[in-house]
Symmetry: C2
Subunit: 278 residues, 2 copies
């Protein structure tokens, strides 16, 4: 917790407006201030037109592999059912918050960070940059997305998009619901790709990136013991998406990510419908 609190001070927390009072989440039209006055609005970047929708969301069920081992709790209690003669089908869910395709709010790791319902809606729609590390992830399940990978991406594609999302494409979504997804070894150590903390800190300090996304179960790579990426990134007021699917169907730049984050009061993250517009 001290480490988390320490990070809050040195990151550009206020710059993104996450540290300020969220006056009107409902309008979400004035990122960075929460104010509605036309004159106070910063210049707004436009989002491009699009023709396709790509679903970046895995179906969530009690077969979904949980990071902690085993499978997620996903229970649908039947309250009403046409199969038993009722006029309606209605259930009540009991579901694990941090499994399946889901968002990590800043509060997941950072006691002073925003809960998921308080992330401004405007921040949930972002230009998407996809960094493809499939080649090295095939060679080693402990591959990390490094600062060098980001610089190579920028050399090929130009600067990482302002107020964007940077996604790691490792190819790991093909392993979902299989033992190789969390990939425990005989000593109980996990082996799957994730962001390197130097890459996360570059995005936090040198670029104006709001979100990161991974097609594995964690922003930090499997073998970590201290979770420096979660600590730094969520501590810096940013948020992440884990267990995304189908990134390989998208171009490295030009798509828009929509994070259908739950607006459940006090939640630390949770099941989210993630769509890409391209």
């Amino acid at each position: 917790m001290e480490l988390v609190a320490g990070n809050l001070g040195r990151r550009n927390f206020l710059q993104t407006g996450l540290g300020g009072a969220i006056i009107s989440l409902s309008s979400c039209s004035s990122p960075g201030t929460g104010r509605r006055s036309e004159s106070a609005r910063p210049p707004k970047p436009g989002f491009p037109s699009f023709r396709e929708v790509v679903d970046l969301t895995h179906t969530y069920s009690n077969r979904f592999t949980h990071w902690a081992g085993g499978t997620a709790k996903v229970e649908l209690e039947t309250l009403s059912s046409t199969s038993r003669g009722d006029g309606w089908n209605v259930t009540r869910w009991t579901i694990d918050e941090h499994a399946g395709t889901h968002i990590d709010s800043p509060f997941h790791r950072n006691p002073d960070g925003l809960t998921v319902d308080r992330i401004p809606a405007r921040d949930l729609v972002l230009p998407l940059a996809i960094v493809d590390i499939r080649a090295k992830a095939t060679e080693s399940p402990d591959a990390q997305l490094t600062l060098e990978d980001l610089k190579l991406w920028e050399a090929e594609n130009g600067p990482l998009p302002d107020r964007g999302c940077v996604a790691m494409l490792s190819g790991w979504d093909a392993r979902v619901e299989k033992p190789g997804f969390i990939n425990f070894d005989d000593e109980g150590v996990r082996h799957f790709p994730g962001f390197h903390v130097d890459a996360a800190n570059f995005l936090l300090e040198e670029r104006n990136v709001l979100s990161m996304a991974v097609d594995t179960a964690s922003l930090d790579y499997g073998p970590t013991t201290d979770f420096p990426v979660h600590t730094s990134w969520l501590g810096g007021g940013r948020w992440g998406i884990e267990n995304v699917a189908n990134l390989a169907e998208l171009p490295p730049k030009g798509a828009t990510l929509v994070c259908g984050a739950p607006k459940i009061e006090g939640a630390t993250g949770g099941h989210s419908r993630i769509l890409a517009l391209v």
Copy 2:
């Protein structure tokens, strides 16, 4: 149930592709067929560029008024908490599926309809038409959005958008979490606006509309006893969104609605993040 099944036969169910096998939800690039072949794709309409995001979602909590009376069950069980010295904040949710801002899948009323996880992602992004009935909703809480209202909208704005969402703006979102939202009278009858079944059937039979949305607790207006709009609309393979917020911030046409529907296997609907791009 017989009425629901009967509707399945006479509606243009196959036309929307909801009756066909959903081969690849992940690509979601070929509405109406589920096939991926380039040559088989129908002409794809483009979506316009946008600059703003408007949040159409109410915050969901155990204060949210339930249609059935009382409030919704929204419980967050703490599994891990920084306030008690853990390194993480993690909860497990138990939540009512049909309260808060949520989607009704076809299966909610129609035993042969799609569960929410099987609605093609491509259908969750739609051009939005907003029909403003605030004037008559102020005069009577039993106001309905009628066929005449749709025809007046078209006279002013042109044809309702193909594969779109038609939303009812009654102004009822201002009443959320207050007794006037469900608005029971002394006899236990509800009083709030909704769609008239003739309007729903017009959208189903004469226009290619995929979704309807209301800023009240039900597609059917409060006093109904037989729910003809749910029966016809969900029976026809369409879906709806209830308890939306902030429609008054949007133009009558030109916005794009993104329905962040849950992708939870077998769910009949549920809490959804609804965003408008404009």
